[in-house]
């Protein structure tokens, strides 16, 4: 509470402004690049030196992975089902519906499973990490942690980033599996294909390059979502507005980066095909 405002006393010092706006925003940009870089480096410095926060990692895995499972598996199922359903007519034109399993498999395993998982997780997990850390920053809980002898970066950031990096690939695996199952339901209803045959055809067009690329992709996505959410929250500005900004920034930035990474990794993996 400010109790002194109503009384006429000399002015409190006022912040001075210097330099052009453009110069400032360029400076800000490079400064924030530098900060992000430092943040990531700090993660690697802190994450792999003891003491390890196992308990907290488990708790975060629960929050990030188990808590998102229902949403992500439902989405995966619907994506698989709808994708198969929508692809059917074009293949039917060629009388090539027996290609559906292969088509669905390539689409899901190469692209959809990691991407859909990452986008859902960015929305659900990324925003909640951003908001949680943001509000902890704003209400000085992070400072409180620091002065009570706990390294907040290690306790809050590394655990969350490790949890997303670990569980999002697992979630993507579930998504892929469940999406295939959704695709299978459609194929089974229309062609009466057996699960065995379906799976055989699913694996037909896949290679280890696909598997490895998707695995790497979802690990990178997981790391991105975690680190972006933490960065936004951990460095959020004071004030409740900062919390909203952190949550929003976490989602937008993470989704944007996920797409960029998708393009890059697809390109790289195509060199190995």
């Amino acid at each position: 509470m400010d109790t002194t405002d109503s009384t006429p006393i000399p002015e409190a010092p006022v912040r001075r402004k210097r330099g052009s706006k453009l110069k400032k925003s360029i400076n800000d940009f490079f400064f924030s690049m530098y900060q992000i870089n430092q943040f990531i480096l700090k993660f690697f410095r802190e994450a792999f030196v003891p003491p390890y926060e196992f308990k907290e990692i488990v708790r975060q895995c629960y929050e990030v992975g188990v808590r998102s499972f229902t949403l992500i598996s439902l989405t995966g199922f619907i994506v698989g089902l709808i994708f198969t359903k929508q692809s059917r007519p074009s293949l039917l034109q060629f009388g090539a519906t027996s290609w559906l399993p292969s088509l669905v498999s390539i689409a899901i395993m190469r692209a959809l499973a990691p991407l859909v998982t990452a986008l859902i997780a960015a929305g659900k997990v990324g925003s909640s990490i951003g908001a949680e850390l943001g509000s902890m920053r704003v209400t000085e809980q992070i400072d409180a942690m620091e002065v009570s002898g706990t390294n907040p970066f290690k306790f809050l950031v590394t655990t969350r980033v490790l949890a997303t990096t670990l569980t999002i690939p697992i979630l993507a695996t579930y998504t892929g599996f469940i999406a295939l199952f959704g695709g299978y339901l459609n194929v089974a209803v229309n062609e009466g294909t057996s699960w065995r045959t379906f799976i055989e055809q699913v694996f037909e067009p896949l290679t280890f390059v696909d598997f490895t690329a998707s695995l790497i992709k979802s690990i990178v996505f997981g790391f991105t979502i975690g680190i972006v959410g933490c960065y936004q929250g951990y460095n959020s500005n004071k004030g409740t507005e900062g919390v909203g900004k952190a949550a929003n920034g976490a989602v937008v930035t993470a989704m944007f980066l996920v797409f960029i990474e998708e393009i890059v990794i697809v390109q790289i993996s195509s060199w190995f095909r």
């Binding site: 895995c61 499972f69 009388g95 090539a96 697992i170 579930y174 799976i199």
Partner: protein, 331 residues
Amino acid sequence: MDAKENRRAIIVGLFLALGLAIFIIGVFTLGGQSKSFAKSIHISAVFDDVAGLKPGNNVWFSGVKVGTIKEIRFVGTSEVRVRMSIDENSQQYIHRNAGVHIGSDGLIGNKIIVIDGGSPGAPIVQDGDQLQAAKLLSTDDMMKTLQQNNENLLSITSDFKLLSHKILQGKGTVGTLMADSTMAVQLKASMRNLQIATASAALMAKQLNTFSNTMNTKGGLADKLFTDTTTFNRLKAAANQFQAAATNANAITENLKTTTDKLNSKDNAVGVLLNDPKSAEQVRSSIANLQQATIKLNDDLEAAQHNFLLKGFFKDRAKAKADSIKKAQGK
């Protein structure tokens, strides 16, 4: 650690373990197909035309995928060298005198290289060997032949139509018919045309048969595809019909040939023939038969046009042709 934390840890453990298990099962299923990590040898072949073959396309042997195209590069003036890697496990089945040709593994037109032939007596292919490329049998070539045939037949049909029309009008006697010398010349020309067309149809039928057989090879994607739809059967039936029509036409041509030969044998022979009602009847029915056969052939061609496979090729020209064919059959 309290009870809640323990429960969470167990759930997280299950969550991770199950996900990992699914992933590992996936990897093993994939590994079970032994497509990658297997060692391979490289062989090559030189083609005049690779018909749009691309690196990464498959190599088939006896309908089984045995490798992929690694590299395509021009050699000499306009020839193309294709380098392919062949799975080491399949190496033992491929002999040095095997041939390669470019085929297609399905409707979308994925080009493949098909290795076939080769005798067990010949040595097994080794890394760096070059196989003999067979002349390209492409869908495009078949389409061209088919189109030509179609045009030929159309003109023949109209010829015969004219002929038989005249026969019917000409009081039903061959005498009248044969009296007109231009008619005889016309008939002869028509027959020659038909002969060519028939030969061509026979070849066509053979090609179609090989083509569909290639597709029918067990295990290929095309196999699954065709098993799935009736398309394959239709294609096969079309080929059979071609064959039948060709044989039929052949027989008739033979028949006519003898008749015309008789016509041609000088002097009196013509008089004899003209006065022989049996011969006249024979000529008349032969011509009627021929007309039937031609129409049949035309039908088949039309069926072929409606076949999805040939659809694309005919699409542009189909309308005009179809109309004239219909008119031809209309009577």
